[in-house]
């Protein structure tokens, strides 16, 4: 009698690319299909514009309406690009909470033959893309209505692209570390991403230079890749004004880029190790199908 082979073949597993593509598509559907495209666009634009408007009014009441000054341009660009920091770092953990507590599908994802970190990163890509549009609209608003001196012909595109993608990579690694941590938090896990977003705003030099902070806090900022990333983005978008920002003035663009590259490699290793550890703890404690709402 012929025996039936029941052992699944490993070739049947979806590859990383397929997992990434499918989870990115799923993330996009979850992000966008709760309403029609127009309302979705309005929702995506209004929040970042109004958050920027808080800073605009703060600047206005203290310094008056000179929006082309170097101080304001640096503040505005830092704030606009910080939207991406929030999205890249927080979205992995929000994806975990959403899948675990709202859709209650995380347990199925974990037993499915796929690489969970790849799924989680793919799941967060949609909201990062939406955030990219938010950044564009915020910058566009600044150029059109505040007459900010961002001239496309003067942008250092090579530096911008290199810095942008390195920054996104390192922030996704940070997101994965945070996501792993979210897996083992029993109460208020959604606050973790928010806390991190608010904390990094202080230490990243996004809206004020690190020199304003007390010296020990400046060290924290200098140990974060985001500070270097934002400095590079400023120098790429508005080269002359960006250089006046009192952060890392003694470092060249190339040196900053190399520091960012080193951080990216370091965080990539950290993300793999730390996520794996949190994953094991979460499985042992039975946190994968936990619902923490009360």
């Amino acid at each position: 009698m012929e025996t039936v082979k029941t052992t699944p073949t490993y070739e049947a597993k979806p590859g990383k690319l397929q997992t990434f593509r499918t989870s990115a598509w799923l993330g996009w559907m979850i992000e966008s299909n709760w309403t029609d495209p127009f309302i979705f666009a309005v929702y995506s634009i209004i929040r970042p514009i109004l958050t920027a408007a808080i800073l605009i009014v703060m600047y206005l009441v203290i310094r008056g309406g000179d929006f082309s000054s170097a101080d304001f341009v640096n503040l505005y660009i830092g704030n606009a690009f910080y939207i991406l920091v929030g999205a890249a770092i927080q979205r992995v953990s929000f994806g975990i909470i959403d899948d675990r507590e709202h859709y209650r599908t995380l347990k199925y994802i974990f037993i499915a033959p796929l690489q969970v970190p790849v799924y989680l990163i793919g799941r967060s890509v949609a909201s990062i893309l939406v955030s990219c549009f938010s950044v564009l609209f915020t910058l566009g608003f600044g150029i059109l209505f505040l007459k900010m001196p961002i001239v496309l012909a003067e942008v250092k595109w090579g530096l911008f692209v290199a810095a942008f993608f390195l920054g996104m990579a390192v922030m996704m690694c940070m997101g994965l570390i945070l996501g792993g941590w979210t897996l083992i938090i029993k109460n208020n896990p959604w606050s973790l991403g928010d806390s991190m977003g608010a904390g990094l705003l202080i230490f990243s030099g996004a809206v004020f230079p690190l020199s304003v902070l007390p010296t020990p806090l400046q060290w924290i900022g200098n140990a974060l890749p985001i500070s270097y990333w934002l400095a590079l983005i400023r120098r790429a978008l508005v080269p002359e004004i960006g250089r006046t920002y009192p952060m890392y003035t003694n470092l060249s663009d190339l040196q900053l880029l190399l520091i960012l590259l080193a951080f990216t490699l370091l965080y990539a290793v950290l993300a793999v190790v730390v996520y794996k550890r949190f994953d094991i703890i979460a499985r042992e404690r039975g946190n994968i199908d936990m619902v923490s709402n009360y």
Partner: protein
């Protein structure tokens, strides 16, 4: 011989109060049992406050503005509580399957919302006080209270109107499905901007500030600023007495609105049987 146990069932005011206490309990006691809130509910707004303080420091703003930020950050705790733990709470209850039980129970939704509001107000006040104290310790804000009773009255009326608004919004959130999260998220930034959490609302033109006054925190914070930072009283939007009258009117309007809209939603929920269902 069969034993007969007499079951007493509360009704009227007694049932109402019992419900209020029952729903407030998890917010007052339950949340304190988990020390994680110390980190998330205090540390997070505290970090945001520090960020805004240093923006003003970088802009070399007068010290009173640092006080505005500390005060605004403490009040932020209430707005966040209104948005996420009042307005959207019935939506979360729907998600968890509790809402249908609430509607079926012999008590009123108004009592349940009163319970949520009073419990939320208590725990949020503790958080706001901690933020205020930490902010003062760290940034040495100098308060000069010109009238304690006026300050107390402003705070009480602001909270009554604010939680009334939260109760009214919660009935509207019952109509939402997945958009509830996005809508609550969307409401955060405009209110923080137009209510002047970090700067005097008089920075806007009169009509913008007047429209923003529909949110009780706008006038509440403006009045509190005038009462605790007398040196910046000229930045006030309206006289404190007028703001008190408007806050009193808003309290009545929002509590009345909450009563009627909740009654309507309750009827709809029973009649159509759809509002309490989780649609995914």
């Amino acid at each position: 011989m069969a034993l007969q146990t007499k079951v007493t069932r509360n009704s009227g005011v007694r049932l109402f109060l019992q419900t209020v206490i029952g729903r407030a309990y998890p917010r007052v006691i339950g949340s304190q049992r988990d020390p994680a809130w110390l980190f998330f509910d205090i540390f997070l707004p505290f970090l945001t406050m520090v960020g805004y303080v240093y923006i003003y420091r970088a802009l070399k703003a007068p010290e009173e503005y640092i006080g505005f930020v500390v005060l605004g950050s403490a009040m932020t705790a209430y707005w966040i509580n209104i948005l996420w733990s009042m307005s959207s709470q019935l939506f979360w209850e729907k998600e968890n399957g509790n809402l249908a039980l609430y509607v079926m129970s012999p008590t009123s939704l108004m009592a349940i919302l009163f319970g949520m509001a009073s419990g939320g107000l208590f725990s949020t006040t503790i958080r706001a006080l901690v933020i205020l104290v930490l902010g003062n310790l760290l940034f040495h804000v100098n308060y000069i209270i010109t009238s304690f009773w006026a300050l107390f009255l402003v705070f009480v009326l602001t909270m009554v109107a604010l939680y009334g608004l939260g109760m009214m919004l919660s009935s509207l959130f019952m109509l939402f499905n997945r958009e509830a999260f996005h809508f609550a998220n969307l409401l955060e930034a405009p209110v923080m901007l137009f209510s002047g959490f970090y700067f005097p609302v008089s920075a806007f033109n009169f009509w913008v500030a007047a429209a923003a006054s529909i949110i009780p925190l706008t006038l509440g914070m403006d009045a509190i600023r005038q009462l605790v930072f007398p040196s910046t009283a000229q930045l006030g939007f309206l006289p404190v007495k007028l703001e008190l009258i408007i806050l009193a009117i808003l309290s009545v309007v929002f509590l009345g609105g909450a009563f009627f809209s909740l009654r309507r939603m309750e009827r709809l929920a029973i009649k159509q049987g759809r509002i309490t269902d989780r649609l995914g």
